[in-house]
């Protein structure tokens, strides 16, 4: 297959899931995001801290909507977010004078590190990027960004995933922990 033939694809998409799966995905992600948002808006907002970052929306797709995926397992969820947050904050602090460079380095280095540590979790890339482009409120947190919101928020979402994803007989989460 040559370079241009590859671009035609030719494979096929996996099948559509059943209605039950859709409803469980909806319920899990609703409750997961509700939990972190409540903590964010009702508890932490007044303190200048935050609990919610954009990448959690992406994590919800995986840990409530594609729970069999290796990318959705606890090792990946926690490892991917935490490692990427560390890379993101470091990239901003060292290279923040050139935001374009800090953003690119943060995301690319996170992906490399997640691969090397078997913690690949796509939302981790967003977590690293947010550390650079998230504005004053994020920058002021420094390395606290790794703990709150990143680790704490991912932890709360994980607890909701464990509680909701195991109710149905045909669903099981996680496939593995570490």
């Amino acid at each position: 297959m040559n370079y241009f033939q590859k671009m035609r694809g030719g494979g096929q998409s996996p099948p559509k899931v059943g209605l039950a799966e859709v409803l469980w995905s909806w319920l899990g992600s609703f409750l997961g995001l509700a939990a972190v948002s409540l903590l964010h808006f009702n508890v932490l907002d007044q303190t200048g801290l935050m609990m919610i970052i954009g990448s959690f929306g992406a994590s919800a797709v995986l840990i409530y909507g594609a729970i069999r995926s290796p990318l959705a397992q606890p090792r990946n969820l926690l490892g991917g977010h935490i490692l990427s947050a560390i890379i993101g904050v470091t990239a901003f602090q060292w290279l923040g004078f050139q935001p374009w460079l800090a953003a690119a380095v943060a995301v690319s280095t996170s992906i490399a590190l997640m691969h090397l540590t078997r913690t690949l979790h796509p939302p981790g890339g967003a977590t690293a990027l947010i550390a650079v482009i998230g504005g004053e409120s994020v920058h002021n947190l420094g390395y606290l960004y790794v703990v709150i919101p990143t680790a704490l928020g991912a932890g709360v979402m994980l607890i909701v995933a464990l509680l909701i994803n195991n109710i149905s007989k045909s669903r099981r989460y996680p496939e593995f922990w570490f």
């Binding site: 494979g11 096929q12 996996p14 899931v17 729970i67 069999r68 995926s69 290796p70 990318l71 669903r171």
Partner: protein, 206 residues
């Protein structure tokens, strides 16, 4: 006789549609395309076949009832025995029961002056033109005179992958299996091998 090429064992032809249907039967979103799954499956299958070719031993597939012939007996006696048992060859043993050679149709044909692999029509033509049929040459000879020696042998723990390679390389049809003392304990024939490969689910190319 064509060669057996175990390297060409292919998995049953699973289609992407089969994978797609199977994925539908499993609840939840499976994070892989049917094409990738098929690729993983085929690779895993090839590995499984390779493992079985290594793990399945001569001892598991050989015919254990060995008809062996003594090297002192005459060719007429040997031919009678092979004809009776409806086999085309047998291990040859000495007076201690140790394997010393293998005798088969090929050896008889060679002795009759036909070369090792004549077709039936060659033999028929020859016999029709020469009334003696050259069978006379076989009188007063013993199995020890015409057998193939030294015999190519295997041990019961020989893997079937190795055996099929041996069949192909040495152009033989049966492999006597001997124990540590050189006593015959069984024979693996091409048929035995074909059965074993068939059980593995591959398409043995014989």
């Amino acid at each position: 006789m064509k060669e057996i090429r175990t390297g060409e064992l292919t998995p049953p032809d699973i289609s992407e549609q089969d994978v797609f249907e199977a994925m539908k039967a499993v609840e939840g979103y499976i994070d892989i395309t049917p094409g990738d799954f098929k690729e993983v499956y085929q690779t895993a299958y090839a590995l499984a076949v390779k493992r079985l070719l290594t793990n399945l031993k001569a001892g598991n597939i050989m015919s254990k009832t060995v008809v062996s012939v003594k090297q002192e007996i005459t060719l007429v006696q040997a031919a009678t025995l092979l004809a009776e048992k409806k086999i085309s060859g047998a291990p040859v043993v000495n007076s201690d029961g140790k394997l010393v050679g293998v005798v088969s149709e090929k050896d008889f044909l060679r002795e009759m002056g036909f070369g090792a692999t004549p077709s039936f029509m060659q033999i028929a033509t020859h016999c029709l033109n020469n009334k003696s049929c050259m069978i006379g040459r076989l009188h007063n000879r013993t199995v020890g005179d015409i057998m193939t020696k030294p015999p190519i042998t295997g041990k019961p723990e020989m893997a079937i992958g190795t055996i099929s390679a041996l069949f192909a390389e040495r152009r033989i049809n049966r492999l006597p299996i001997v124990d540590d003392d050189g006593l015959p304990v069984g024979v693996v024939t091409r048929t035995d091998l074909a059965h074993a490969l068939h059980i593995l689910g591959g398409a043995p190319k014989i």
